[in-house]
Amino acid sequence: MSLVEKYPKEVKQILSKYPPEHKRSAVMPLLFLAQREEGYITKAGMQDIGKILDITETEVASVVGFYTLYHDAKAGKYRVQICNDLPCALRGADKFLEELCGNVGIKVGETTADGLVTFETVTCLAACDKAPMFQTQGPDGINYHENMTINKAMEVIAGLKYAGKEVK
């Protein structure tokens, strides 16, 4: 099913934000929509968006490639993205990351055997006063988890098994 068939209301609402002669502006919100279910954007999804906006698939792909929140490959159902940028690192983020990796048994860039969780590191998420922190990116969008301890983080990760069961 194409994006328009699947989400007619959303596509229309997105397009209404921009002048019709500049509908290309809708490429970013449409990409978020296309990424919603699988957690990454398929070739068909890019073709779809190109058709809606009268631009080539290559142009869509070049936008996908530029931004870190878009993915063109499958990973774990949830990306657990730990911030270890300077301000967080000054408050123990590196040590937190190391311990968390040890506890879950995967390294940064790896996915758990059940395919649920991939670990990634990210740069500042505007939550430096609440370090250590990470965000989860999955079927239920992006969620922040702040002022973390290892115990709290393990609870969050365990909870991902059950979260997002009713995908909209």
Partner: protein, 419 residues
């Protein structure tokens, strides 16, 4: 003193429409659309001395007066990309005092006769964008936004737009490219956005905090605003305080308050963690020249305003103060900042793309314990070579901590390299 921007800290539930309204909300905007000429609004902002809070400190009223009135339509864009490491103030403003920000955005739109405004938020703020959409809908319902506002001929629509994880999209022309649906790479300037902005049309871009000041200035007058702060930097600033302090967070202080007040004030940072000494400060997030403190009282007593911070060989920028204490080695700091800039360089121009690549290679070697003395000089050289040669400020930003880190904290580097 009562807060001006972080007013929600004095007034509970200020993010609710009725509460905001009861506390004087929307009166400035109502008064402006009904009784003031657009240029009069700009004049008040000009006279207040308000300077942009996104980093460059450009006079806001003056920027608005540059809007090209021979080319239509006009646009206004709020920069809510907030991605400078150490900066987390716009998020709090939008979460807790959203109407004041939206009212400021509406006042600017009226002042430059724009009928459409966009709020560009970093992609991670998607829930915040949905929250703002609700607030915008509430204002439309009350007749404060939409068609023919309050029975006048003025109409305004405000839309949110999400970025997708690219620091460079905080740079205003990259932001516009991104908003147009392209890769977020900076444009060559001039022309500047007030003449050539979104879709090539005259556009005013300001930071969220800049907008949040505007309703208070219109309501209380330019002189009231100027009575706070210093001659060079009027009014109040929200300082994002992070790093090795006991109470990290946002603190609103008048310009001219000292680093000591911010870091050691009981209601502010409450001192350094484990009672250590301040070694260095980065007043503008990762894009800072490092200020040497080493416990020096005189430095900590420097007023935080644009001019005074410059006398320390740094810039106030977005006022995201990162505190580094004497347990931290500066080569480690540089390793972090370079990693950030290497990751965020958009790749459009060679000096920045190659420079950040080489700086990362060399700093990894040094920080990893495999560096030789010559590597430190090499790193300094690469950084200096970049300065002034890049298309946008990111390139210069990336070199700043490297150059000042090596020049001002040489000993930390000597310690980790082999002779």
């Amino acid at each position: 003193m009562a807060h001006v921007v972080l007013r929600h800290r004095d007034i509970p539930n200020l993010n609710q429409f009725d509460v905001y309204k009861k506390n004087g909300g929307f009166s400035a905007f109502k008064n402006a659309v009904k009784k003031m000429q657009p240029t009069e609004v700009t004049d008040v902002v000009k006279n207040s001395g308000l300077r942009g809070r996104g980093g460059a400190g450009f006079p806001t009223g003056m920027k608005w007066s540059f809007i090209d009135n021979k080319n239509w339509p006009h646009y206004v864009v709020a920069n809510a990309d907030e991605s400078e490491p150490g900066t987390f103030k716009d998020r709090e403003i939008m979460e807790s005092n959203p109407f004041q920000f939206l009212e400021g955005l509406a006042l600017c739109s009226y002042a430059v006769a724009a009928n459409v405004a966009y709020i560009y938020l970093r992609g991670e703020f998607w829930q915040l964008a949905a929250f703002l959409d609700e607030k915008i809908a509430e204002m439309e319902e009350a007749g404060l936004l939409g068609n023919k506002i309050l029975g006048t001929d003025y109409s305004l629509k405000i839309y949110t737009h999400l970025g997708a994880g690219a620091y460079i999209c905080g740079e205003e022309t990259a932001l516009l490219e991104s908003l147009e649906g392209k890769r977020g790479q900076p444009r060559v300037r001039p022309p500047f956005p007030p003449t050539f902005g979104l879709y090539g049309k005259p556009t005013i871009i300001n930071n969220v905090e800049t907008f949040a000041n505007v309703p208070m200035i219109l309501a209380n007058g330019a002189d009231w605003y100027k009575s706070m702060g210093t001659a060079d930097s009027s009014g109040v600033k929200v300082f994002s305080l992070s790093g090795r302090v006991r109470r990290p967070g946002n603190y609103e202080l008048p310009f001219g308050a000292t680093f000591r007040e911010l870091i050691y004030g009981e209601k502010n940072g409450a001192g350094v963690q484990d009672a250590r000494q301040v070694k260095a400060l980065m007043p503008a997030g990762a894009s800072s020249s490092l200020i040497v403190v080493n416990g020096d009282d005189k430095i900590l007593d420097t007023p935080m305003d644009y001019a005074s911070v410059r006398t320390l060989g740094s810039e106030l920028g977005s006022a995201s103060v990162i505190v580094i204490d004497d347990t931290v080695s500066i080569d480690w700091v540089i390793n972090k900042t370079i990693h950030f800039f290497k990751h965020e360089s958009c790749g459009k121009c060679t000096p920045c793309r190659e420079g950040t690549y080489w700086m990362q290679n060399i700093v990894h070697r040094i920080h990893g314990g495999d560096g030789k003395q010559g590597d430190v000089d090499l790193l300094l050289n690469v950084a200096k070579q970049m300065q002034g040669k890049c298309l946008c400020a990111l390139g210069d930003f990336s070199a700043m901590a490297v150059v000042t880190g090596i020049e001002r904290f040489k000993g930390d580097f000597d310690k980790v390299v082999k002779v």
